[in-house]
């Protein structure tokens, strides 16, 4: 109850005013403010970017899990190593990458050695969001990897043997045997990865960029925190929360729809 009651309270709250208009009903004013705020629009644009990058965030652990499943030498060790950033707090991950990605930091030193000019990873508004998402993927791909491995446990090994006997190459095997066989797991990873991107990047954003440069790395959850904790506009923050919740409901419904469709074809 501690969680469902505030949800209703929050939705209700999003229709009231801030500051002088505290507590009075203001209808949809907060939502209009949101849409007019370039920072929030930027946050929504970044959500779009996350959706575009989602296939990469799913494909990387999927491929790695395939290799581990095929018993690449050292697969046990790889599994343990790949998972380890997932147990670190986003704050620690962000702090470490603050050092690595600094303008005069090690990554640029390595790139400079290869003749590639220094990139202002966290200071260039066109680059910063990609840098943060990249770090997020680095930190969480181990989790999706373990989900994939659990999915592989249900895969029929005879199919793989048959593919091998028929002389199928690795890409052919992946595309024709593994992807269809794991469709449920893949859908599951898509949804959980999306939810992870929407709800667990706060620590990274907070320590790596604080929403900057030029407000280019806002996500809804960071926007909510700024409005609530810094700007003292809880009602506006509630409206943003409601929008975030809607986005997540849509993600959830998409998942349900996909599941139902695949259930029919099976």
């Amino acid at each position: 109850m501690l969680r469902l009651w505030p949800l209703l309270l929050g939705v209700n709250f999003s229709f009231t005013g801030d500051g002088e208009r505290n507590g009075t009903a203001v209808g949809l004013d907060n939502y209009r403010d949101l849409l007019e705020d370039p920072l929030f629009r930027g946050a929504l644009r970044n959500v779009g970017l996350l959706v575009l990058l989602l296939p990469i965030a799913v494909a990387i652990p999927g491929l790695l899990a395939t290799f581990i499943y095929l018993r690449v030498p050292g697969h046990r060790l790889f599994r343990g190593v790949y998972f380890f950033p997932a147990v670190l707090s986003p704050v620690i991950v962000g702090a470490i990458f603050n050092l690595l990605l600094a303008f005069d930091g090690p990554l640029n030193a390595v790139l400079g050695g290869a003749g590639i000019g220094p990139v202002d990873w966290l200071g260039n508004p066109h680059v910063a969001m990609f840098a943060v998402v990249g770090v997020h993927i680095w930190a969480t791909f181990g989790m999706a990897l373990v989900v994939f491995l659990a999915g592989f446990a249900t895969l029929d090994g005879a199919l793989l043997d048959a593919a091998r006997v028929d002389g199928a190459s690795l890409p052919q095997t992946i595309w024709h045997v593994i992807v269809p066989g794991l469709s449920r797991t893949i859908q599951f990873v898509f949804v959980t990865t999306m939810i992870g991107m929407l709800t667990s990047m706060f620590g990274l954003l907070y320590i790596m960029t604080s929403g900057g440069p030029e407000g280019s790395t806002y996500l809804p959850e960071y926007y909510i925190w700024i409005q609530q904790g810094q700007m003292n506009r809880p009602a506006l923050a509630s409206a943003a929360s409601t929008v975030l919740f809607m986005i997540m409901v849509v993600v959830g419904l998409l998942q349900l729809g996909l599941l139902r469709r695949s259930g029919r074809t099976e």
Binding site: R3, F67, L77, V91, P106, W225, S241
Partner: protein
């Protein structure tokens, strides 16, 4: 056969490279934490000339990491103890005792699992302020318990469903009260689940930054992760001390992971459905 064997070795090379890329950032940080400022500015990559603990000591004492560390330990211990107590009782009740509304309660728990914290954080802050719990340790503990209880109850209920009802029935016939059954049978039988749920909850609470940032504004009450974020501003020109602070916050988690790899990986994956 040999062709496949070669292919496997070829795949192992990029995978090993990636494994190095996974480990290296932390090794780099640990190395920097051992360096003097001068060493760091001259060469970022070279190994520290000696195992030097001064930066760690500086971060521990003068930056206040010791205080933050203790705050975190206290809050996490209380939260996990409460979560396990309530979670095991609720798991027992929801899986073995049939009472009016038990299935509805379980459903509420499931729904709550999918409500992300960001969505309820504004009203939560307000409720905490109304209750006079902002900036108090009990308030933070309460928030953590509320946040991770659905997950705990869900896992404990699923686990206790595997206990045959015959055992519970037999214990009841032998004259045990429901509490007696809980105390003598369910608690001992639930130990493996309680252990792994406990570790996960400890990890979640330890790693949290958003909840603690919202509810504990004063500097004395910071938890360790918030402490790390405050280091960034104070020590932006003293990278080795900053790295030392990060290391202090990371080491407990890393040690836990080294010993309990399997449980953590499997448990976190089971919990990844939660919002």
């Amino acid at each position: 056969m040999s062709r496949i064997g070669w292919g496997r070795w070829l795949l192992a090379v990029p995978m090993a490279a990636l494994a190095l890329a996974t480990i290296y950032p932390l090794v780099f940080t640990a190395n920097v934490a051992m360096k003097t400022r001068r060493e760091y500015i001259l060469d970022r990559f070279s190994l520290a000339s000696a195992l030097r603990w001064e930066n760690i000591v500086t971060a521990w004492h003068s930056v206040g990491m010791a205080r933050y560390f203790l705050n975190s330990v206290a809050v996490v211990t209380c939260s996990v103890a409460l979560l396990l107590l309530i979670g095991s009782m609720a798991g027992f009740a929801l899986s073995q005792l049939r009472f009016r509304g038990s299935s509805t309660l379980f459903l509420v728990c499931l729904v709550a699992l999918f409500v992300p914290f960001q969505v309820i954080m504004v009203p939560l802050v307000r409720m905490m302020a109304d209750g006079g719990l902002t900036d108090t340790y009990p308030g933070l503990v309460l928030a953590y318990v509320a946040q991770f209880l659905p997950f705990t109850v869900f896992l404990m209920t699923s686990y206790y469903r595997g206990v045959p009802t015959e055992i519970v029935d037999a214990a009841r016939i032998d004259g045990n009260t429901p509490y007696g059954v809980y105390r003598r049978i369910m608690l001992p039988m639930g130990t493996p689940a309680l252990l792994s749920v406990g570790i996960l909850n400890a990890l979640f609470c330890w790693n949290d930054v958003l909840i603690s940032l919202l509810l504990m504004p004063s500097a004395d009450h910071r938890t360790l992760m918030v402490g790390v974020t405050s280091l960034r501003g104070q020590y932006s020109d003293d990278i080795p001390t900053f790295a030392a602070g990060v290391l202090i916050a990371a080491v407990p988690v890393l040690v836990t992971y080294l010993f309990l790899q399997r449980q953590i990986a499997d448990g976190m994956t089971a919990g990844s459905t939660k919002g």
